[in-house]
């Protein structure tokens, strides 16, 4: 090969390398250079509604809004983390995870503090939104995460997890379809009767451990009260305590009456939803999003929502709930102000009503609540009883939570007793505390 040819080849190789690296860099800067306010989300069911609202907003304000969908939620979550590391977050994004994840984003300087916007004009924006929904994206003074106090997230809608029951199946079993079980003992009696009539009892996607976790913790709040639950998470009380054993015993009871549908511990929630909508189970534990899901699966399904039947009246029954979707504004975005303005508009009554009509979710705007469908209003009735780990002052270690949830699965499959699980969780907790 002659010198000229070799030189040309070297130039080509170097050029290609630059092109490669250049393109790489360009792709990183693409988001920052865009004219639109870019919003990354994960909600397939809300994609069309978001795009319609974006078009409407552009018409009104001449500000372009670009919703970009990334699914499934696991992938979305990893994408957000990777983008935070690469400093390529969009103008608006969601954080799917626990409070500590949101805290990490805030501490790393990725999230804009919205407190001043919320408090403008005598708390105009803040007063529009349900306090409980807002508190999920709020950090109180002196929080355990060390985050400066403030509101960091805008809830677009709400969700809570409750019990639903099939009225036709209750009737078929000789039970009053207008009088669902009022207590845990009555619930167990209902399940016995249903099983005696060869009707599937209770379904839930308990392969998804957060559903077990929420179910069990709801009853923990009911049996021992919030203070004791918090004391346990903090490390001042033990999981080996009699009250915790009572919580675990509930799963033994429901197992012993054959009240759970077959394979509940390896069942994802989608399958549990199919079972309930196909009338293969009379009860289900599911989130308020199920109204939309059941409507799609079986529009004629005759069902109602109810609070979980309490074990005792000593303490109030709580339900898990949180912002169904909450958006955070990128602190480093040059379009942060525009993004905030859009989110304000999105949480106004008209837009919230439009979202309810399109997606059948609970709105975050207080005034929109009057315009929701019947079953959804049964979910909405109990919004004051909402709790969620994201608003608790302490957070349980993931390993303890894992042992707790797997322990309950073990009880359901008859592998362990309530006492054994309580002891095991307590042991893991002690190890974590010792560290």
């Amino acid at each position: 090969m002659g010198f000229k040819k070799r030189g040309a080849a070297i130039c080509l190789v170097v050029l290609l390398s630059f092109v490669l690296i250049g393109n790489w860099g360009c792709s990183f800067n693409k988001i920052a250079d865009s004219d639109s306010v870019v919003i990354w989300h994960w909600m397939t069911d809300r994609e069309d509604a978001f795009n319609t609202l974006a078009a409407k907003y552009e018409e009104l304000t001449n500000t372009k809004i670009k919703f970009e969908l990334f699914t499934p939620s696991d992938v979305y979550s990893q994408k957000i983390i990777a983008s935070a590391q690469g400093k390529t977050l969009p103008d608006v994004f969601g954080i799917l995870g626990k409070k500590r994840d949101a805290a990490s984003f805030v501490k790393a300087g990725h999230v804009l503090d919205l407190t001043s916007y919320m408090n403008e004009d005598n708390d105009k924006w803040r007063s529009m939104i349900f306090d409980k929904a807002l508190s999920l994206g709020e950090f109180k003074p002196g929080n355990v995460f060390g985050v400066s106090a403030g509101v960091y997230a805008v809830p677009i809608d709400l969700m809570n997890v409750q019990m639903v029951y099939n009225k036709s199946l209750l009737k078929k079993a000789g039970l009053d379809p207008n009088r669902p079980p009022q207590s845990w003992n009555q619930f167990i009696e209902y399940l016995k009767k249903l099983r005696a009539n060869d009707i599937g009892g209770f379904a839930s996607g308990w392969a998804e451990t957060w559903l077990i976790d929420s179910f069990a913790l709801n009853y923990a709040f009911n049996i021992m009260g919030e203070d004791k639950v918090m004391a346990t998470i903090k490390g001042d009380a033990s999981y080996n305590d009699a009250d915790w054993i009572k919580v675990f015993k509930l799963f033994e009871e429901i197992r012993d009456v054959d009240g759970l549908v077959s394979g509940v511990v390896t069942m994802d929630n989608k399958y549990a939803e199919q079972l309930f909508s196909n009338e293969k189970a009379a009860f289900a534990y599911n989130g308020s999003w199920c109204v939309n899901v059941y409507k799609g699966m079986n529009p004629d399904l005759d069902y109602c929502a109810m609070m979980l039947p309490a074990v005792t009246r000593k303490n109030p029954m709580v339900i898990w709930g949180s912002a169904g979707a909450a958006f955070y504004v990128n602190k480093n975005s040059p379009k942060a102000e525009k993004a905030v303005e859009f989110l304000k508009w999105l949480t106004e009554e008209d837009q919230q009503v439009f979202l309810i009509e399109e997606t059948v979710n609970l709105p975050s705007n207080k005034k929109s609540l009057t315009k929701i469908p019947k079953v959804l209003s049964q979910f909405a009735d109990d919004l004051n009883s909402i709790t969620h780990p994201n608003i608790w002052p302490y957070e349980e270690s993931p390993r303890v939570t894992e042992t707790f949830d797997k322990g309950i699965q073990s009880i359901i499959i008859g592998e362990k007793t309530a006492e054994e699980v309580a002891a095991e969780v307590a042991r893991v907790k002690e190890k974590i505390l010792a560290k």
């Binding site: 070297i10 190789v13 990893q78 626990k98 790393a108 894992e402 699965q409």
Partner: protein, 290 residues
């Protein structure tokens, strides 16, 4: 340095850049992260030395259970899957007229998506409406019907069977290719010497196939130990962690924002796989010399 040498270095530069960026850097970064506690988001990481490894070796029973689970599925794949693959490869090697059709049929399961296969088999195994239980009842074996994936006694084996069904096509193709490289003269010579079919198999086929067997074994072990999509689709690691495998544990650590710990798990897992492969290669060399 001569201009020729410099130009040579320029030519390998893109390859070196790509290899360094996508292989060497991630490896060292993984090692670095494994020595830290990091949630994946904050710019600062807390150095914890070997604490993640200590935690993994001494405190994480679920991790070692997941290793055992993966080992159990691998054992099924090494025996059940590969023996079936060998039998089918031997059958196809005997110049069956429709051998090529079988080759295509046997290779269908490996090209299917693991998630799709997992979901289909989840339905087959379903305790209430599954075809398997339906057949058992139809055959008068209703007492054997079970909720296969929800019972700890059957869940892992049920997954191992599906994994073997899905994976035997790869082994079949490799073994068939190996069988076709054995010179027919060897079989003819053995036949002339009075060797029956079994003796020919034991004294000709097996010795000639040892390197292929070793390769199939290495690929089976690496592929099975690292498998997880099938399990995610079928059980999600349940019931109560009875079907969890190491990759699911690593994934869970990452989901829990324990990136440092996840990297420690990944490193240990990688080292175990490299050690197993290294031992197999040494054994292969030893057998070749023999």
């Amino acid at each position: 340095m001569s201009s020729k040498r410099i130009s040579n270095y320029f030519f390998i530069l893109p390859a070196v850049l790509i290899f360094s960026t996508f292989y060497i850097y991630p490896f060292f970064k993984t090692f670095q992260l494994s020595l830290h506690s990091w949630d994946g988001i904050q710019p600062t990481m807390q150095f914890v030395g070997l604490a993640n490894f200590k935690d993994l070796f001494l405190d994480d029973k679920a991790w070692w259970s997941s290793m055992l689970n993966a080992g159990y599925i691998t054992l099924w794949a090494l025996t059940f899957q590969n023996i079936i693959a060998l039998i089918l490869a031997l059958a196809c090697d005997k110049a069956l007229r429709i051998g090529s059709i079988y080759r295509v049929i046997f290779f269908i399961p490996p090209v299917l998506s693991e998630i799709v296969v997992g979901l289909v088999w989840k339905w087959i195994y379903n305790g209430d409406y599954g075809i398997l239980n339906h057949w058992l009842v139809s055959l008068g074996l209703g007492s054997l019907a079970s909720d296969w994936l929800a019972q700890p006694s059957t869940a892992l084996t049920a997954i191992a069977i599906v994994h073997s069904w899905k994976g035997f096509g790869w082994a079949f193709i490799i073994l068939l290719a190996g069988l076709q490289t054995i010179p027919t003269q060897l079989y003819e010579a053995a036949y002339v010497d009075g060797a029956n079919a079994w003796r020919r198999f034991v004294n000709v086929t097996i010795p000639m196939m040892v390197p292929v067997f070793i390769m199939v074994m290495i690929l089976t072990i690496l592929g099975t130990m690292q498998g997880f999509a099938l399990i995610l689709a079928m059980t999600g690691g349940g019931p109560a962690g009875h079907t969890e495998v190491p990759v699911i544990r690593i994934l869970n650590s990452m989901k829990n924002s324990q990136f440092g710990y996840a990297c420690a798990q990944a490193l240990i897992f990688g080292m175990i796989l490299v050690t197993i492969s290294f031992i197999q290669i040494r054994v292969s060399k030893f057998l070749k010399q023999e």
